[in-house]
Amino acid sequence: MPRVKASPKKCIKTNIQQPTNSWVFLLKGEALELSEQYTGTGTPDIVTLRHPNTGESAVFLFSPANNSVQEILTYNEAKRSWFIDETVKSDGKMHLSTPIDPIFLVLPYLRKYCSSQAIPLDQLLRDEEFPETERLLKSSGLKYLNMIADRKGDEELNAFKYNEEKTLSWLKKKTERVAEILKQKNIHVGSSAMSATFVKSSKSESPADTDSHLRYAHGIVSEYLMDDLSQKLLKYLNLPEDPQFNLKRKSTNMLAQNDPKKTKVEEENKSSTSNVLDLSKPEQKTTKTPLLTSKDKARAKAASGSKTISSFFKKT
């Protein structure tokens, strides 16, 4: 069964409004390690960046020298608390961090601004809403940016132009690697339930099996891609579009939108995580209905209560 995209809210900080702020955080060791050249303070930083899938704010962690980025995932169960020493922490959330390829975070910017012209990287990664985006420049993973973009001009200028062909082949490799791991770890991805002790009689694998692994992997990778790119990747992987899969995702999205509580929490988060107004949503709206001035609106209002003129005249 294809993996249904998880709700992006899991990576949004949700307990920021608590003044006595302590988190239960599981961190992989390498984020705390300092590189030899680095001589600053040795604590990793938690910052908000634009999530590559939703375009909304999400929490990420930078290692002390900014050279690696990790995404923060929150696991939350309604009725749970932590015992910490002698105290009880009522907030039972658990935060986990896993390294993420910074190219995924740069990809939306590249796609948006660099599809027709090359832009120097330091200009590209300037996001007024998320000023910390600039830190991505120092991350070591960015040296592989030529996997998804063409370098234009001088080495020093560091200007890139988005290349969709390259991007898709890069994503394909990523997806195949994820599928490989899924296979190695023997993670069951089929649509039917299967006993954990079930052993397949024949070792040879059916092509359908590889397909479902690949589809599941595509679902995982798509969590870090804009929806349209995810669809393109699906085509590139030669996987037929699964109508059920789409339906499901849509319905979950709708659910998320219809839940007033959830959106409220999200708004609170937004106001608390950054002082800058989140403009990502209205931006999307304006592209759909361009140039609706107040005059047009007034006219539309004046027009209400009249039949359309074409109903009086024959169409020719």
């Binding site: 074409s310 009086f312 005249f313």
Partner: protein, 260 residues
């Protein structure tokens, strides 16, 4: 090859000023008989119909009919660059994607060229049937503009009722009500100042102020305006462009409350 030349660019300026309020873009259909424009506003409640006859131009040549989609705001920008007494020439190749406007000053001492990209507009054409209207009112165009402007302060819609006694424009709103009555007057010395009413049967219709106000942007084009009304048929507001053609606005009436 299409070429049309008009001695005074001010007529074009006035036409643009009159329609650019309602329309963002429009296609100009050029044929041997002249230039025609027909377009609905965004809300599809009103229709603009412009006819410029070929014999009204100083020089007119149209080898093959062509349709030119133009952004009216951009066209207005270009005509702002022309002086009122400049001669304007509109030129286009048969299957061109640009149109050229050439402005020549009176004494030929200055010639300017503006080339504008054309747009591909997907617009449906409506066939407008010939209608015998119950009421046809002719009145000075500034007077009509004044009434629309005055009444729009009080309400969102204007009721126009035409009876034997004359025409009554009325509106009502939060402040109160407003009525303007106009009786038929014949002024033989100044024909453009007279009010004439041709009436078969009385008509009362309601229209949106906002649209009427937009129509009156055409006031500089003609000294007289003609309003034609019949029950359950759009109002026609017509401005005659002297020696050249006409500009007509059609507006669907408001649906009466008692009908709902």
């Amino acid at each position: 090859m299409f070429e049309a030349r008009l001695v005074s660019s001010s007529t074009f300026k006035k036409i643009l000023d009159a329609v650019k309020d309602l329309l963002n873009e429009a296609s100009f259909d050029c044929s041997e008989s002249g230039i025609q424009l027909q377009a609905m506003d965004n809300s599809h409640v009103s229709l603009v119909s412009l006819m410029l006859r070929s014999d009204g131009f100083d020089k007119y040549r149209c080898d093959r009919s062509l349709t030119m989609g133009m952004n009216l705001a951009n066209m207005a920008k270009i005509f702002k660059c022309a002086n009122n007494d400049d001669t304007v020439t509109i030129k286009a190749q048969d299957d061109a994607d640009t149109v050229t406007f050439m402005f020549e000053a009176k004494k030929q001492e200055k010639i300017s060229d503006y080339e504008m990209k054309l747009m591909n507009l997907d617009q449906e054409h409506l066939g407008i049937p010939e209608t015998d209207f119950s009421c046809v009112i002719r009145m000075p165009s500034p007077e009509f503009a004044r009434i629309c402007r005055d009444l729009s302060q009080f309400g969102e819609s204007i009721v126009i009722s035409c009876t034997k006694e004359g025409v009554k424009f009325s509106t009502g709103g939060d402040i109160g009500t407003a009525n303007v009555k106009i009786a038929q007057t014949n002024n033989f010395d100044k024909e453009e100042e007279s009010v004439t009413i041709e009436m078969q049967e009385p008509v009362t219709l309601t229209f949106a102020c906002q649209y009427l106000n937009s129509f009156t942007k055409a006031t500089p084009l003609a000294p007289q305006v003609q309003l034609s009304m019949s029950d359950n048929v759009p109002l026609v507001v017509e401005y005659q462009i002297p020696d050249l053609g006409h500009l007509r606005f059609y507006l669907a009436p408001k649906i009466e409350d008692d009908e709902n």
